[in-house]
Symmetry: C2
Subunit: 244 residues, 2 copies
C-alpha cells in the first residue's frame, strides 16, 4: 500500500477506542475497498484503526479471517434488503414498471447497505468488485453460497416479466449489469473525465438512475437468434485460476 511520509512519533493516545474490534473492521473495510486485499497489510489496518497489529490477529486470527468477517457483516443485511425490495417489485402490476422495480431492487442495496448508512453499501460493493478481480479463495466460497441464490431469484423474477426471452440471455444481461455496477463503483471518476465535467461519476443517485434505465432497455432487447450461426469460431478464453 502506498504510505504517507508518516513520521509521527506520538502515540495515538488522544482517541480511546471503545470497541477496537469494530474500529479494525471499519479500517480494514475502508482500506481493502480502496487499495485491494493484497495491497493492504495487517499493519496498515492496525495503524489506521489506532490498534496494535497483534490485536488484529487476536480478534480475527488471520488476514483472511478479517476479510471473511467483513463479508459476514454485510451479506446478510444486503441480501435481506434485496429480498424485501424484490418481493415488493414482484407485486407491481404494470409489466414495464415491474421490470424496472426489479432492477432497482437489485441495484439499490448495492449503494446503500442496511448495516451502514454513510456509503456503507457502496464501500462493501466496491470491495466485492475488487475481490472479484483479485480472486480470493475465501471470497469465492462465500460468493457461491450466498450470492448465487439471490442472483437466481432475480433472474427468475425478470424471466417472469420477460417470458419470451430465453433465460440464457437474461443471465448474460444480468451479468453485464453486475459488471457495470462494479466498474462504476471502482472507477467513478472515469465518467466525470469522459463527460468533461457534465456528469459526476461519484453521484450515487445519478448512477443508479442511469444504470436502471440502461439495464431495463438491455433486458428487453430481442434475444439472440437461438440458431446461432457462429460465423467465425472465436477461441475460448479462460483464466488459469478458478474465479469468483
Amino acid at each position: 500500500m502506498v504510505r504517507k511520509p508518516a513520521k509521527s512519533n506520538v502515540k495515538a493516545v488522544s482517541t480511546r477506542k471503545p470497541n477496537m474490534r469494530e474500529a479494525i473492521l471499519a479500517a480494514a473495510e475502508e482500506l481493502f475497498s480502496t487499495y485491494g486485499f493484497n495491497a493492504v497489510s495487517v499493519r496498515d489496518i492496525a495503524q489506521a484503526a489506532g490498534a496494535n497489529p497483534g490485536s488484529v490477529t487476536y480478534h480475527f486470527k488471520t488476514k483472511d479471517g478479517l476479510l471473511l468477517e467483513i463479508y459476514r457483516r454485510h451479506c446478510g443485511p444486503m441480501n435481506r434488503r434485496r429480498s424485501e425490495l424484490l418481493a415488493a417489485a414482484r407485486r407491481v402490476r404494470d409489466l414495464q414498471d415491474r421490470l424496472e422495480a426489479i432492477v432497482r431492487a437489485y441495484v439499490l442495496p448495492a449503494f446503500t447497505s442496511g448495516s451502514d448508512l454513510a456509503g456503507g453499501g457502496t464501500r462493501f460493493t466496491r470491495l466485492r468488485a475488487i475481490m472479484s478481480a483479485e480472486g480470493n479463495e475465501v471470497v469465492r466460497k462465500i460468493i457461491a453460497q450466498t450470492f448465487d441464490d439471490t442472483s437466481h431469484a432475480f433472474i427468475d423474477a425478470i424471466h417472469e416479466s420477460l417470458p419470451h426471452i430465453p433465460r440464457t440471455d437474461l443471465v448474460w444481461r444480468g451479468h453485464f449489469l453486475l459488471g457495470a455496477l462494479y466498474y462504476t463503483l471502482v472507477t467513478p471518476e472515469r465518467v466525470s473525465r469522459l463527460s468533461r465535467g457534465s456528469a459526476d461519476g461519484t453521484d450515487a443517485g445519478h448512477a443508479i438512475e442511469e444504470l436502471v434505465r440502461a439495464t431495463v432497455a438491455a433486458l428487453q432487447a430481442a434475444p439472440l437468434d437461438p440458431a446461432t450461426p457462429a460465423p467465425r469460431k472465436a477461441p475460448g478464453f479462460a483464466p488459469g485460476r478458478a474465479l469468483t
Copy 2:
C-alpha cells in the same frame, strides 16, 4: 501468488529460450492477467519463463517497468484496430446497423488483439480489467493518455448515430459497456454457473454477440429526464485514491 508444491530440483535445461525477453513478457502477461499485479512476484514470473529473477531486472529494470512494457506492446495495435473498425462502421448507411457496427468495433479488438492471435486480446483486456480494480500508478498514466482519446472517438461516433440522446447519457452507457466487458473477461465462469450450463461464459464469440445486443439496446434507451428530480439525496461515493 498461490504456489504449487514445486520441488523440482532439475534445472530448466530442456528448453532453451531463443529470446528470453519475450518469454518473460509472455509469462508476466499471463500471470498478471490471472492473479493480478500485486499477487505475482518477480520470481514467479522468472520461474514461469524459465529465467533467472535477475534477468527480469536486467531487461525491465523494475516490476512496474515490466507492466509498462506489456501495455506498450498492446495499446498501439489494439487502438489501431479499433480506429480501423470504427472508420468502417461510420460508413455504414443504415443508422441501426451503423450503431451496432460501432459497438462491435469497440468490443471486437478487446477479444482479439492484433499482436497475439490465440486469445492475446482477451488476456490483455483481462489485465486491464484487473489493473483498473487494483489501481496502479503506471497504468493510470497510460490509460489517461492512450485510451481516453479512443473512448471519446467512440462516444462521438455513437452520438452521431443517436443525436437526440445527450452525450452525458452516452458516456454513462459506454462506461457500463466497458464494465460489462471487463467483468465478463474476469469472471466468465459465473455465467456458466448461473445459466446452469446452458451458456458458456468463456465462449468469446457468444459473449461478444450478447454484449453487442444488450449494449445497442441500452444506448437507444430514452435519456434520463434532464430535469432530474433527484428524489432522495443519495450520498456521494468516492474511493480514497485516485483511480483509473
